[in-house]
């Protein structure tokens, strides 16, 4: 179990503030946030490149904050993999065991087994320069995993790869993690990538940890407008909330009236994910949560259709492609329904247009 408590780092213009994070054994944790949020700094702190100004880091209850990197037994795969260019693939993989001064007859079978399990055993005597992106990643993983580290830190492991390879290698990473029952901390800036692999995610912004939880938890209960935006919520409605029996009633611009199961009062920003808005084709409905809007644009995406509406508030709706009875053309006027439990309410003062 990895415990970071109250970590503060001062980098001049940038500060890492009060990081408290626990990574359980065998957990695939993804830390994500926009560029400059401080994700890599935390990783480098765990590796031992930087020392936090305050706070402590513990691995299985053992304090590692003041240990040298070589005493921590933490695996590290940097963004560019940093394979040693002066060594063959085999020497790269064996490096950690040689550094631990294991006898040769123990090193050889371990290297062989590791390389076989990662499917790179045909590359023994190749130099890293001559490997493809995927091969490099697997060799770097093998080099880090062969010493059986307490935790493996992966700093943007997929960002150097092309789009098609990325999903495959994300699945591969998860498969490897499950097989070795390792504790992984994976850093990335894409929510989609995190959703592919994570048991839990930790979202960072501007040097702070803003939310930790499973993907489902974060989607259901974003801790702030920032998290809502970061997890691809597209619709934000400014309004005023008044408590009601089962939650609150939000009065938006142009007399728009919406219901939410969340309790709130006063000026608020209401947020709703594009896939949670229902398009009511051919139904003339009315009442709270239902509004009429004109289709401004329709874009077909691989698995869904993105429909942009203009009306009392501009909205973006994702509708599963091929749903029976669904059709939308530019200029159509349609009824939309925002379910009360889909409408998340945030205090309005948070609504400054922060960068995502």
């Amino acid at each position: 179990m990895i415990e970071l408590s109250d970590i503060n780092i001062d980098l001049g213009e940038f500060h890492l503030r009060d990081i408290d994070l626990t990574i359980n054994d065998g957990e695939y944790m993804v830390m994500l946030g926009p560029t400059g949020a401080g994700k890599t700094v935390i990783v480098e702190c765990l590796v031992g490149i930087y020392r936090p100004a305050t706070g402590s880091m513990r691995v299985d209850g053992v304090e590692i904050t003041s240990l040298y990197p070589e005493e921590r037994n933490i695996g590290y795969v940097p963004q560019d993999y940093a394979l040693f260019p002066n060594m063959t693939v085999r020497q790269n993989v064996a490096y950690g065991l040689v550094a631990r001064k294991l006898p040769r007859h123990e090193i050889d079978p371990k290297v062989q087994a590791t390389m076989e399990s990662l499917g790179v055993d045909h590359l023994h005597y190749r130099l890293p320069l001559n490997l493809s992106g995927g091969e490099r990643q697997r060799v770097a993983l093998g080099r880090a995993l062969i010493t059986q580290p307490r935790v493996l830190l992966l700093d943007e492991p997929l960002s150097a790869l092309d789009e098609n390879l990325r999903a495959d290698l994300a699945a591969e990473l998860l498969r490897i993690q499950r097989r070795v029952s390792g504790t992984f901390l994976h850093v990335c800036h894409s929510f989609e990538e995190a959703a592919d692999v994570a048991d839990r995610i930790a979202i960072m912004n501007d040097g702070r940890l803003v939310q930790v939880g499973s993907i489902a938890e974060v989607l259901a209960q974003p801790a702030s407008l920032f998290v809502a935006r970061f997890t691809r919520t597209r619709n934000f409605i400014e309004g005023t909330a008044q408590p009601s029996a089962d939650g609150c009633r939000v009065t938006g611009p142009n007399g728009l009236e919406l219901h939410s199961t969340h309790r709130a009062q006063g000026p608020v920003t209401a947020a709703v994910r594009p896939e949670e808005i229902e398009i009511l084709n051919g139904v003339a409905a009315s009442g709270p949560g239902v509004l009429r809007a004109k289709v401004a644009a329709v874009r077909a995406k691989p698995t869904y259709t993105e429909v942009s509406f203009e009306g009392s508030v501009p909205l973006v709706v994702h509708e599963r492609t091929g749903r029976a009875g669904f059709h939308a053309n530019c200029g159509d006027e349609l009824c939309l329904r925002i379910p009360p439990d889909a409408l998340k309410i945030f205090p309005a003062e948070e609504s400054e247009p922060d960068g995502r």
Binding site: V41, G48, Y50, P69, E70, P78, A82, F84, Y95
Partner: protein, 307 residues
């Protein structure tokens, strides 16, 4: 991540602190020396009545003997081979000292945020671009007039040649060695250490082999720069060829380093004496040495060029 780097882990910080302390004490020493020199000689800025000019300048003339000894078959003359010997020996010693000082310094400059790095850069870079005669002059002032340093009696001595060469060759070498270390991904060492290597082993097994071509190129550059050094040596050490044999130590005579100048100085002095053919021959030797060293850099340095 932009901005100032945060505190590094304790060991790295200690390295950086040592390097910073050494560099700064050198700078402070030089600055204080210069201040003291200026303050103690300020009256010389306002000369009394007239400048002093030596009458001896007009007395020296090349003799027939000089001309006949050297005009043909210079390779049969012992002084020529002593010159070659002296050049090779001093340049090699210089290169070794420059490497011992410069490679760790270049590593530190490449890896650590040494405060006031721009000052150090200005110092080293200006030595590269300055006329070396002025470097020699600065050294004369420093070594002749600064307490402690003047006790070394380096001025006009054979070790003085190494002292001058060292200044220019280290400056040249450091720029090449720093470029070599800059070219090696810093993360290699981080990964090596995360895999259980101590800092020295990480450096020795990963960074050093990766930087090797550039480091060797820097060694050759430093050697060549030392061997080709002319102006500084002339000002700092004058010439040795005309000094009486008895003024050289027995060890120097045993090593055949006596009554000889480095090739570059020798070339100039022979032409001055009127031995134009001899001077030209030495000039060709120097061109050959430079060309060979550049070729060697390309061969040994592989793809890692330093310019």
């Amino acid at each position: 991540m932009s901005g100032k780097l945060p505190e590094r882990s304790p060991l790295l910080r200690r390295h950086a602190a040592v390097v910073t302390a050494v560099v700064y004490s050198a700078v402070v020493f030089l600055v204080l020396g210069a201040c003291w020199l200026f303050a103690s000689n300020v009256d010389q800025l306002f000369p009394g009545e007239q400048f002093i000019q030596s009458a001896a300048m007009d007395e020296w003339r090349p003799t027939d003997e000089h001309l006949h000894v050297f005009a043909g078959g210079f390779w049969r003359v012992g002084a020529f081979w002593r010159s070659v010997n002296l050049t090779v020996v001093t340049a090699t010693i210089t290169m070794l000292i420059a490497a011992a000082v410069g490679i760790p310094a270049a590593y530190a400059l490449s890896r650590y945020k040494v405060p006031g790095r721009s000052i150090i850069d200005v110092l080293f870079s200006s030595v590269i671009v300055l006329p070396t005669a002025s470097v020699g002059l600065c050294l004369v002032i420093l070594m002749q007039h600064t307490p402690v340093l003047k006790e070394l009696h380096l001025v006009y001595s054979l070790p003085g040649i190494v002292a001058v060469q060292l200044v220019v060759a280290t400056a040249m070498g450091i720029s090449a060695w720093k470029a070599a270390f800059d070219g090696v991904n810093e993360r290699f060492e981080h990964v090596a250490r995360s895999l259980g290597s101590g800092p020295w082993r990480a450096f020795r097994t990963v960074t050093l082999p990766c930087a090797k071509p550039g480091l060797i190129a820097g060694l050759i550059l430093a050697w060549t720069r030392a061997a080709a050094e002319f102006g500084g040596v002339l000002i700092f050490c004058s010439t040795f060829a005309e000094r009486p044999e008895a003024s050289f130590s027995p060890m120097t005579r045993l090593l055949h380093l006596h009554q000889a100048d480095p090739l570059a100085v020798s070339m100039w002095s022979q032409i001055e004496y009127g031995n134009v053919e001899y001077g030209t021959a030495i000039g060709f030797m120097l061109v050959f040495i430079s060309a060979a060293s550049v070729y060697a850099i390309h061969r040994l340095g592989g793809k890692t060029y330093v310019w």
